[in-house]
Amino acid sequence: MENVKIDETRQVSPVNTLFLVLGMQIGISILSFQRVAAQNSGYDNWVSVALMGLSTLGVMWIVLRLLHNEESYGQPELFSMQKRFFGRWIGTLLNIYVMSYQFSVIVIFMRGYIEIIQVWIFPRLGTLSFAAIFSIIIWYTVMGGFRAITGTFFLSFVYLVPLHLLNILAIGNAHFSNLLPMFEHSIGDLAQTFMKMGPCFIGFETILYFYPFIKRPQQAGKWCYFGLLTTTALYLTLSLVATVNFSPGELKTEVWPALSFWKSIHFPLVDRLEYIGIVYWLCVLIPNVSLGAWIVSRGIKISIPLIRQKYALVFVMLMITLSCALIRDRQQFDWISHWIANIGLFCMYVYIPFLLFWQWLLKKKGAKKD
């Protein structure tokens, strides 16, 4: 495996990991997770949300540990790591598996966004044509390299600040009694919600891929944890806003509670705020999908060194466009996203700790040989 150092002009400063982690975690599910969360544990869902958020800190610790240890052996990123751990063939197989996972995450994200546009703004919009336009913009961004992608993440963070501040407006017609009585749901219910919250919090593990692109990576750790805490705070606020604004029965029928909440806000010049919110969400979509496409194309480049990343990227974008068009209805979409969420959870809580264990085993073995 080549052990090339990434050129410093292509690296980003450690602060940016905050925006990267936060940006990857905020996805399309932030608009709809409240319904899912309320299904099993009703108004107590915020407990699960908080627990999930805290558990991600633990996983992040494992991820950072893994990457830090790997620095002395080879390129500290997942593709090279898997090749080193499990040999060339199994490593490549695992790489393909990881790439296809990342690929489906992007497709689900993009398809989910197109679905929202189709439901709320343009009902007769063609999925294929629109996915193609998105893909062109994303291709253009990824061609700018990792720095440009990080830039879109940072800007999306800046843009989203006013949108999140809107939650303050919820206080006006909030029913805080909706939260009471607290802790009425069983641990089983909460655990089920915990499992279902997976897709919201997944995304921060992408640091496994871009770690070598961070300057002074030992300083990035604290920013990663800050990012995770911010996300947790954000999800907590949103779940509380949904709980105090909608009755439990209402919440179970709302597909996109966040959009319905925005719909209830009126400004003198803007009557339907959710239109702006949806359009605004493009600035979350672009960085997320860009980073995903970057990861997959880089994976192809590392697995088959003959292919250059820019050609791999064209292929990836074409496949994304086609896959988006292939998902026809809500049932297929739900089925796929359900599976992806489960695989993601498995990766986070089982596979990554296993990798750390395996790394430790290899180190022991190496020490014995010497």
């Binding site: 602060v15 703004i121 253009y140 879109t152 940072f154 800007l155 702006i276």
Partner: protein, 506 residues
């Protein structure tokens, strides 16, 4: 257009036309009425004198050169060199040097007509415009000098304000035919060596036949020539150039161009008027923010009108929607056609105003603004609301202090309007995302283009959207990676001001 695509071929052409011997050169030049070439055979020293009347300073020739050749004491070349009271008289024996010196305005003295051994007496005339007030970047307060076309005058304007030996000027010759003098000026010890090297490299790599203006040069050496965004500032103000030099920037001056290029530059600097530095920081910040708001308004307003009226009329409160619809009820066109027609009309007015002489230009403004505007509303061709929006966005675009950036801003409206007519608000967002991605990818002399925003550098934010008081700006911009980062010692400044005492009055 400027570039020689077939390099070898053009070189061949050049060689065939070029004179081989000095006699051929003079034969070629003899037909020109402004060329003097004669034998001087009075006195004890005989020689051939040749020069261009139109290029030399005739007064100095008659006063400082010719009378001394009549001196009976002169017998040889070295005597001439000693006696003539002109600095830098030199020898030359290479045809190319002789030719170029002759073309620059030097007098060439030969012993025999065919001899290559020549004496070059520099008597270059300095004809040119006087230093005047800046015309494009005018300011109410502050210095009133502007660059002129002569590069030496421009350099002297700079050097007067930086009286230190570290101020370095490097000269380049650019253009295969025009041989234009281009100077890179920077302050050693402040400007980053890396930036200077990049700039030098870009100038040396240029392949072009002629260079007329600094704006041409800026397009030629910019990082991405296909981008609509200008990547270097061109200014006609020496004070602004100096401010850049003190920050660690580099200036490129082109002979014959009344503007200097400042490199590298970030996007935000195009929206800073230099007046901002002459007024107190509160007002400077206020006007700066207003200007940035104007830019946003100018780009988005017409597009939003089109998007809202074509697709998202639900977005507007019912009361407002009523008046919008009454204003549009008589208009037979779709919002996008209406907006495009008005926008193009405004662009036409601007173009006509720029092409016409000043006196006629004012009339155009009145005709366009008042007559066409009201008439088109009365004729039912456009709605009142759109007229207001378009006029205001045109006005807003003109607040951009840099002319070239202003052009870009006005151009940007059209893709936004088209996108809005295709996909409404989503189209505007898509278009915006695309341009943001484009800006993220741009660089200026290898430095990130939208720098204080991304990569986020908090110290540079002090002079971007807001202008902090000078006492708080103790560091030079990080964008340039200056060798010497501190402008002044922060602690000493605080001490001099006197620390505020602990009580109200003591």
């Amino acid at each position: 257009m400027f570039w020689y695509k077939k390099k070898n071929q053009s070189m061949k052409e050049e060689q065939s036309a070029a004179p081989k011997t000095i006699q051929e050169l003079f034969l070629q030049l003899k037909d020109n009425p402004d060329f003097s070439h004669y034998q001087h055979d009075q006195g004890s020293f005989q020689c051939w004198i040749s020069f261009f009347n139109s290029l030399v300073n005739l007064e100095s020739v008659h006063r400082d050169v010719l009378p001394f050749l009549y001196d009976s004491q002169i017998h040889s070349f070295s005597d001439v060199q000693e006696r003539i009271p002109v600095e830098k008289v030199s020898h030359a024996s290479d045809l190319y040097t002789i030719q170029s010196k002759l073309m620059e305005g030097c007098i060439v003295v030969q012993e025999k007509e065919s001899s290559l051994n020549c004496l070059i007496v520099p008597t270059v005339s300095r004809e040119g415009r006087q230093i005047e007030k800046p015309e494009i970047e005018t300011s109410v307060i502050g210095p009133k000098e502007a660059f002129v076309e002569a590069i030496d005058t421009n350099i002297s304007l700079l050097r007067k304000r930086i009286p230190i030996p570290q101020f370095t000027v490097e000269q380049f010759r650019i253009g295969k035919i025009s041989n234009t003098r281009v100077c890179l000026a920077y302050i050693k010890g402040i400007a980053s060596e890396e930036n200077v090297n990049t700039a030098r490299q870009r100038l040396q790599n240029l392949e072009i036949d002629h260079l007329i203006d600094a704006s041409t040069l800026s397009q030629l050496i910019s990082d991405n020539a296909r981008s609509p965004f200008p990547q270097f500032i061109d200014t006609e103000r020496p004070d602004r150039t100096i401010a850049g030099l003190f920050e660690g920037k580099i200036t490129a001056l082109v002979d014959g161009s009344p503007s200097a290029l400042i490199l590298p530059t970030s996007l935000i600097e195009f929206f800073l008027a230099f007046d901002d530095y002459f007024i107190v920081w509160h007002f400077a910040t206020f006007y700066r923010l207003m200007r940035l708001f104007a830019v946003a308004f100018s780009v988005f307003s017409s597009a939003l009108y089109v998007a809202v009226l074509t697709y998202h009329y639900q977005l507007i409160p019912t009361d407002l929607l009523g008046s919008l619809i009454t204003s549009r009820s008589v208009v037979p066109f779709s919002p996008v056609a209406e907006a495009l027609v008005l926008e193009i009309m405004i662009e036409l007015l601007r173009e006509a105003g720029a092409r016409l002489p000043t006196k006629v230009g004012q009339t155009i403004g009145i005709v366009g603004g008042i007559v066409l505007g009201t008439a088109s509303v009365q004729a039912g061709l456009t709605s009142n609301v759109l007229l207001i929006i378009v006029a205001m966005s045109a006005l807003a675009a003109f607040t951009t202090p840099n002319y070239r950036m202003g052009t870009t801003i006005r151009f940007l409206r059209f893709p936004f309007i088209l996108a809005a007519s295709l996909w409404g608000l989503l189209g505007i967002a898509l278009c915006f995302t695309f341009f943001v991605c484009h800006l993220l990818r741009l660089s200026s002399l290898g430095r990130p283009y939208i720098e204080p925003i991304f990569p986020l550098r908090v110290t540079d934010l002090k002079d971007s959207f807001v202008r902090f008081p000078y006492s708080l700006q103790s560091e030079r911009p990080m964008l340039l990676r200056p060798e010497d980062t501190g402008r002044f010692n922060k602690k000493r400044v605080q001490k001099k001001k006197g620390k505020p005492s602990n009580d109200i009055d003591e």
